[in-house]
């Protein structure tokens, strides 16, 4: 029994510590802002205060617009980025694995190179490109540049390389051309990998911060992540319960996606990156 006690104790402690920040946000969101400001936050939620969620969703709080709008921007951005990356990377990975054409490996390496060029190392010129293309403060500007993806291309390439040759040959004998094979065989067979990638990319899109900060100064295009950082930045007269309610709302979608698709996501992550 002693052998079992320590693992349980440590794991339970870790689970509680991991959950504590979220719990504080949940409990705090239902309490009075002035009480929180005095440092008297209670860990027991006050069910009477749940109305705050209605408030922030519909009206927002000081320094930030209604949260439904920010959630919509975030969701739109995450979906467009995740689906866009898949729609772009799948064909390009298909091209480099199933065909042989001039400059194939050059093209692959150029795509691979983007792994080494995060926004942080090309900040100003990217901003200039965006402004030359008149994409500042537009939803297109928010999403399009993030749709190119080396990670997704690499992951798909891995997946495609693992498809048995005989499966391809059988399809060719059955008379399937390249596009038909892609549609009828390859995409259905890679379904689990696509789902896993979707989770990773959705979370990636939802969690963007520096990029929207750079290209979207219009408050209408504030994502919920941008919005909440703005809220805690105002040090005076912060409505703490509203901050916490917004934080909870901002966390629910990506956490839900990860938890609901946990099995695929873990598999996709560990098989792809290594």
């Amino acid at each position: 029994m002693t052998g079992r006690f320590i693992p349980h104790a440590v794991l339970t402690l870790a689970v509680l510590l991991f959950a504590l920040p979220i719990w504080i946000a949940i409990a705090g969101s239902t309490q009075d802002s002035a009480v929180i400001a005095r440092g008297e936050l209670s860990l027991i939620p006050d069910l009477a205060g749940l109305g705050v969620y209605r408030d922030v969703l519909l009206h927002g709080s000081a320094g930030a617009g209604p949260v439904w709008r920010a959630l919509l921007v975030s969701a739109g951005m995450a979906l467009v980025i995740a689906l866009g990356k898949i729609a772009l990377s799948l064909p390009s990975a298909y091209a480099v694995t199933f065909f042989r054409f001039p400059f194939r490996m050059t093209a692959f390496w150029l795509i691979f190179l983007t792994l080494m060029l995060p926004v942080e190392v090309r900040l100003i010129p990217t901003f200039q490109v965006m402004s030359n293309l008149d994409l500042i403060n537009s939803f297109t500007g928010l999403t399009l540049p993030l749709v190119a993806s080396a990670t997704a291309t690499l992951l798909f390439r891995q997946t495609f390389l693992a498809i048995p040759d005989e499966l391809v040959e059988a399809a060719r004998m059955d008379g399937a051309g390249p596009l038909r094979f892609l549609r009828d065989i390859l995409i259905p067979v890679s379904g689990a990998n696509i789902a896993a990638l979707f989770v990773i990319l959705f979370v990636y899109g939802w969690n963007q911060y520096l990029w929207p900060l750079l290209v979207a100064t219009d408050p209408k295009l504030d994502t919920v992540v941008i919005g909440i950082v703005k809220m805690i930045g105002l040090d005076t007269a912060t409505e703490w319960n509203k901050v916490m309610a917004t934080a909870v709302l901002a966390l629910i979608p990506p956490v839900a996606v990860v938890l609901l698709m946990q099995r695929w996501f873990v598999k996709g992550l560990t098989e792809g990156d290594k």
Binding site: P164, E166, L167, E169, A170, R172, D174, G175, A176, R180
Partner: protein, 354 residues
């Protein structure tokens, strides 16, 4: 009308010549088994016929039509793969129907063909299952079904039984043979298993290092192997191959001082010519007056006994005896002349008497 004709077929990958010229004609409805060790070029040959590889030189004709440059789908052939290659996301029915669907057959026509094939293969009850819900033997049948529904001019089999366990392999072997006889489709069957080759083929093509070494009926390949490679490859346990020299005017072979008579045969080669004497293990006779070989290993196989005899470092001899044969520390054996094979030691080719 010829089912399949190969003319001077060659294939190189870079500097590496895998297939060094194959000429072959298959009669309509004939089943030819291509057999050889791995790397002998047999799979490449099959893939060339399938259209999955392009030959470096030569022509392929199916039913008289030159298909050398055609896409696999235009050759009117079907292939059964070693690992089945079933589409994992499709049901048994969809797997069999896919090729027909691509060819644009009407739904009713597809249904009828798949139903006929699945009845033939006993798959009726499994049509809605996914491949992962099937046993190995059932998957193999679906793979065959997929080939059958297409009603092709030519069947290609790429080691279709090697993923099955031993018992199932014997059963499926029989089924393939029966089906092929019944459908009378010209077939090429690639295997490394010589038992499969012997039991399935109307004729065998034995390949070695990219070269076809013998093309003949199973009986002939077994009884008159074209060279030492075929002799050692076909038959289990393998034929004993003992180096010696020709003597007595070409009527005897001398093996390390012992003389073995060749009976009534006489070879028109000078005495002292280097030869290899071949005799199958089941043909070695126990003979109290014969030469003594020390016994190294005795293997009891149940229905028979194998004896491996010989001195370390020197030639060894395998005997196949009925159970209960008297075996001590050594055996005395003789080589009945009617069962002897003779090969040229320099070229390995079979020698025939004058």
């Amino acid at each position: 009308m010829a089912g399949l004709r190969l003319e001077g077929l060659r294939k190189s990958f870079g500097q590496n010549e895998i297939l060094k010229g194959v000429d072959l004609t298959l009669a309509d409805g004939e089943m030819l088994v291509i057999v050889g060790a791995s790397g002998c070029g047999k799979s490449t040959l099959l893939r060339l016929v399938a259209g999955l590889e392009t030959p470096t030189a030569g022509r392929i004709l199916i039913d008289g039509r030159d298909v050398t440059r055609l896409d696999p789908s235009e050759r009117d052939i079907a292939m059964v793969f070693q690992n089945y290659a079933l589409y994992p996301h499709m049901s048994v029915f969809e797997n069999m129907a896919y090729g027909l669907k691509i060819r644009g057959l009407p739904k009713a026509g597809i249904r009828a063909k798949v139903d006929a094939a699945s009845a033939l293969l006993g798959l009726d009850a499994l049509l809605d299952r996914k491949p992962r819900q099937l046993s190995g033997g059932q998957r193999q049948r679906v793979a065959m079904g997929r080939a059958i529904v297409r009603d092709p001019k030519l069947f290609l089999f790429d080691e279709p039984l090697s993923n099955l366990d031993a018992k199932l392999r014997v059963q499926m072997r029989g089924e393939i043979r029966r089906l092929q006889r019944r459908l009378k489709v010209t077939s090429l069957y690639v295997t490394h298993d010589q038992v499969e080759a012997m039991t399935l083929g109307d004729r065998l093509l034995v390949m070695h290092q990219g070269v076809p070494v013998q093309l003949a009926t199973p009986t002939e390949v077994f009884e008159r192997p074209a060279d030492t490679y075929v002799a050692g490859f076909i038959g289990s346990p393998a034929m004993n191959l003992l180096p010696g020299t020709l003597g007595r005017n070409g009527t005897a072979v001398s093996l390390e001082g012992t003389e073995v008579g060749l009976g009534t045969r006489r070879y028109a080669l000078p005495d002292g010519h280097g030869v290899i004497l071949g005799i199958r293990p089941e043909h070695v006779a126990l003979d109290p007056s014969g030469r003594e070989w020390p016994v190294e290993v005795v293997e009891l196989l149940g229905s028979e006994t194998l004896i491996h005899a010989g001195r370390t470092g020197a030639a060894t001899l395998t005997l196949r005896l009925a159970n209960g044969a008297p075996v001590g520390e050594a055996v005395r054996v003789s080589f009945p002349p009617e069962h002897l094979h003779l090969f040229d030691r320099a070229t390995g080719l079979r020698l025939d008497p004058a």
